[in-house]
Symmetry: C2
Subunit: 202 residues, 2 copies
Amino acid sequence: MVKAQDTETQILDAARRVFIRKGLSGARMQEIADEAGINKALLHYYFRSKEKLFDVILRETFAKIFPSLPDLMINPQLTFRESLTKFVDGYITAIQHNPFLPAFVINEINQNPDKIAQVFETIGFDGAKIKQVQEVLPQRLGLSKEKTREVIVTVISLCVFPFVGKPVLKTLLFDNDDKAFEAFLEERKARVVEIAMSMIQS
Amino acid sequence: MVKAQDTETQILDAARRVFIRKGLSGARMQEIADEAGINKALLHYYFRSKEKLFDVILRETFAKIFPSLPDLMINPQLTFRESLTKFVDGYITAIQHNPFLPAFVINEINQNPDKIAQVFETIGFDGAKIKQVQEVLPQRLGLSKEKTREVIVTVISLCVFPFVGKPVLKTLLFDNDDKAFEAFLEERKARVVEIAMSMIQS
DNA sequence: AATTATTTTAACCATATGGTTAATTTACTG
DNA sequence: CAGTAAATTAACCATATGGTTAAAATAATT
């Protein structure tokens, strides 16, 4: 049983790469097996079916892409501005390391919205925690529930969209210059905080 | 030849629905044929292959989702605020009528970024027009090229992201209340303008 | 009406694909 | 080391899938 854990990990690594690149319907079990350097039957031996394997990856990816939003409010040692800066910085940096995750999640969730409930539970975002976010954050910001939602949607939109829209934005605004686009994302971290703060003050 | 045009339209209507719902790899020629109420061979008779049919839909969809950005600057009778309001309003409304287009475009373009050049040309966004946007708009706003990009990315992010992130946002912030989410989008039209304007003034 | 051209369909075809199985190899245990 | 359990593989299988074809139906032309 020395190789068991190892094989499982190899499969997950390969599956992650292939699923994120091609999506559920675009991925091929044979391709995953090849990329893992193992026999295709092993995929079923360890994970039973394509769907099951996919679900593991989807949940795992979800966990990566939903950083602890609660951190935004739970830490009372920091001012809100500091919390927000930390959040935006960490979030954009995380996506920079996995730039294809957002498009992957968006696509698969839109394809199968019913999965969202289970997936959220898997990562510990149950109803209780959701309510917590919905109630504690407005209190801390001294804003209405509605206004708080505005701020959250704004922050997330600004952090995530540039990554999913990258091919188009790069073509339209950056003359396909990768370096320039990366630099832009870097500057954005501070800018997003400014935009959000100005919403709160007004 | 009375039915020719009609059949072609029926195929396109069906293909649009299926491709946008399932994407290129998820769509099935048989499903498109069934939805169009015709024999599968007709799909190939009219459009040769799945890819060719898909490309027609992708280009068409692209045209829908890239409204005349140039309008933002060409019309000098309006103040910039008025232009922007018109743009944001029109853009969000357009997406409201086709809420799945953004996720579709994002997914397919990320899957195949090389297609972006041809697709852009098809809708008349050639190099010349792109340069025009990049140069005229900063001039009109009295901002640097960089700052102008910030504003554009912000506006597009804020307009588009809520639609692609809808399942997640609805669960997380709106207790899955569709009505509430729609109302939020409606309010957003004005809010997005405010955010963009405050960026310009500072 | 007869002939020709176009449109439509049913039946196929080759291949791809997710999944299974029986046998083989490797690792573990007494 | 023999025997058992777990891991791995090659060969299959049933079905789905994009695409083709030859014949039938419909429309256009003379």
